[in-house]
Symmetry: C2
Subunit: 180 residues, 2 copies
């Protein structure tokens, strides 16, 4: 399955009204704090890799995960190698990475509120420093990618937002651009 | 608390008889497979660090852990920084370490059978390639270390083994010595 998604800046109050009008269903609320690391032996900004410790809280449950994302596979695809495992203790993982010489470069904290509307998931993200965003996404098989992109763009319009204002930059990159 | 321990080579059949005679209580049986990694940016054999992915099975429960052990703190102490966290998926952790350039150098597999006898824990280890060992250990506050060492040595004798044949080398080092 492929994930087709579109992210735009948006005023949440306005989007909530649109979600309500279109009978969207609230799914869940997640609070995430992601610490991104750089490596001692190479610069992930150059190699386009990412190593992340995620702390997540959903419905009172706390979880932690370690995620590695490799560079893009090939020039045209948007595919990356991605490995993720749960962690018993995120603080311990931070200490291990620190001992090994990995350096935290940025922390992305966000509150995510998710809704479903037809076959789309609409996420209202409030990101530290950056502010409010809305993501619309759906999953499809390879054949359906073009139709799904059109559907996602249409849903963005339904919410009163402009698909042409799509932001393809990750929150991490936006925060790094902000800082340097 | 400090861990005082002594490890010797031993024939388990003989030790089992001695444990039985002295009314030792069986505690548990654990199967462990430890993969030790070396780092891409420095040689852990030189820096005296260790990074380990442990797969453990006890009473049908499988668990995985990531452990980092730092170099000895100071010249005389046997103290190290040690960080350990549970992992949701050991295979994923292996893939992340591999992607980051860490290299598996040795795997130590062992079956551990633990017994308690007075305030001591006696572990019968069957280690891949290396064979059978017995470890006797106890926990004490700093003040009691000398007395605990004497008690551990006495327990080793009680089991029909010789405290002077103590092996201070880790299974990992024994296996590495074996191999190269």
């Amino acid at each position: 399955m492929y994930e087709v998604e579109m992210k735009v800046r948006a005023n949440h109050e306005q989007v909530r009204r649109a979600l309500d009008e279109h009978g969207a269903t609230p799914l869940d609320t997640i609070s995430q704090e992601d610490t991104y690391y750089n490596a001692p032996m190479r610069d992930f900004a150059e190699t386009d890799e990412a190593l992340r410790v995620r702390r997540e809280e959903a419905d009172g449950d706390e979880r932690a995960k370690l995620t590695y994302k490799g560079p893009l596979v090939g020039e045209t695809s948007k595919t990356r190698e991605e490995y993720e495992t749960e962690l018993g203790d995120a603080d311990v993982m931070d200490s291990i990475l620190d001992s090994l010489g990995f350096v935290p470069v940025e922390t992305v904290g966000k509150e995510r509120e998710r809704f479903s509307i037809a076959e789309y998931v609409v996420t209202l993200d409030t990101v530290n420093v950056l502010g409010e965003f809305v993501e619309v996404e759906t999953e499809v098989r390879e054949k359906g990618i073009d139709a799904a992109r059109a559907g996602v763009a249409e849903t963005v319009e339904t919410l009163g937002l402009d698909p042409d204002s799509e932001i393809r930059t990750s929150y991490l990159e936006l925060l790094l651009d902000n800082a340097y």
